[in-house]
Amino acid sequence: MALLELKVNGQEVRVEAPDTALLLDVLRERLALTGAKRGCETSHCGCCTVRVDGMAVHSCVVLAVRCEGKAIATVEGCGDGMELDRLQRLFLEHGAVQCGYCGPGMLMAAQALLEQNPAPTLDEVKKGLDGNLCRCTGYTPIFDAILAYGRGE
């Protein structure tokens, strides 16, 4: 076991976990942050996407110990718990969420994209979300929401 010192959504936390614990397991099982979803667990679906030092990563294939000293951001850090942030609001307005399982990962991947590229084209949005599957929406509402964010809506 290892004692990890992590910084999640701006908050310092200390948590005990197995040496080779995956970030997804630490977030969900030890820190009760269940926003990042357990999907394929093989880095294909992107339901578990979080940001580590700004980069979108699939937390099912990240060793938690490697995140020490880095800033981890999950969907729980969006908005303030009561109010949605602008990107979340646009997801809602465009119907970008149906069953909702991909939503947290989509939001984190979109955040990472928009931070690097504040006004992406449709092709850039598609490339930025290429690690995230959605089986409900057909993607168009998700792309629309992100494009609207880029237009400053």
Partner: protein
């Protein structure tokens, strides 16, 4: 059984751990394939040797001898490197086509090469660049041309006490052009067929080539160089007809697998198509630029 994590401070410590554990431990680079293999119970190492802290495996160095790329460079870093774009542009072009954004953010060149999964995007580009693998064990070092590095499905020449440290590439000849084309059902998939071509113009006539190097992935148990095709193109003039003939020759050099995505015959046919396209694209690059960057 819990898997132990060894975090060496430097390369010497990592090599000592490799020597001590051999088959019982696996080095972990970006983890984007290895952690999936562990999750699927395909491998169950007693320990992982974490290569992340090791400075000697980082960075891109350019000297008169060539370009030396640390094994822990991520695809994201390969794509963002201005010097790689300028010197060996086909490598970042291939890196852009590896899996998805999240995987490119963490997946490394060393991991990609050592994992040797059929259809991986970086090996064809590295083969066409004549890359060499700089390998270390505790007592000594060796250099392996990438064309001799891959030995079978998911297998390489790497011994259980060795670590791939760097990928070394000589400066491509002036005016060379490099192309990587990937054929896959979805762009995030592994390539059914991936073809990289580096074309060196002879500088005398339009389409005239001094040398061509072709790397092919996904179409044999290992990524390979199309040696006979290359030999046939030496000194040729690259036009539609020679490119077509080269594609057909290349199709006879591969030994494609059949799987649910594509049958062997289809893959072989696609090798001829994509070799032809890659050669013609490279020729076009040379013509347009007067000097394409490889």
């Amino acid at each position: 059984m819990e898997c132990k994590l060894i975090r060496p401070a430097d390369l010497d410590e990592a090599l000592a751990a490799r020597e001590q554990y051999t088959h019982d431990a696996l080095p972990i680079a970006g983890g984007q394939s290895l952690l999936v293999m562990m999750r699927n119970r395909l491998v169950a190492p007693a320990a992982l040797i974490d290569l992340e802290p090791i400075e000697a495996l980082r960075g891109v160095e350019v000297s008169s001898a060539g370009i030396s790329i640390g094994a822990m460079n991520t695809c994201r870093q390969l794509i963002a490197s201005p010097v790689l774009g300028e010197e060996v542009g086909v490598l970042p072009v291939a890196a852009r086509q590896v899996s998805s954004t999240a995987v490119r953010n963490l997946g490394t060149i060393g991991g990609n090469v050592c994992h040797n999964e059929p259809g991986a995007d970086l090996p064809p580009a590295l083969l066409a660049l004549n890359a060499r693998a700089a390998v270390r064990r505790r007592a000594n070092a060796r250099e392996v041309p990438l064309a001799e590095f891959f030995t079978g499905y998911f297998e390489t020449v790497l011994e259980p006490d060795e670590i791939l440290c760097r990928i070394d590439i000589e400066h491509p000849p002036a005016g060379a052009a490099g192309v990587y084309l990937k054929h896959a059902i979805s762009p995030e998939d592994l390539a059914m067929v991936g073809v990289a071509a580096v074309v060196v113009p002879d500088g005398k006539q339009t389409g005239g080539v001094a040398e061509v190097r072709i790397g092919i992935g996904g179409a044999a148990p290992v990524p390979l160089r199309a040696a006979r095709t290359e030999a046939a193109l030496k000194g040729a003039v690259l036009d539609a007809e020679t490119a077509r003939a080269a594609g057909e020759t290349a199709a006879t050099e591969v030994d494609p697998p059949s799987d649910p995505h594509a049958g062997a015959d289809y893959r072989r046919k696609m090798v001829s198509v994509f070799v032809r396209r890659a050669l013609l694209q490279a020729a076009r690059q040379i013509e347009e630029n007067g000097h394409g960057a490889a």
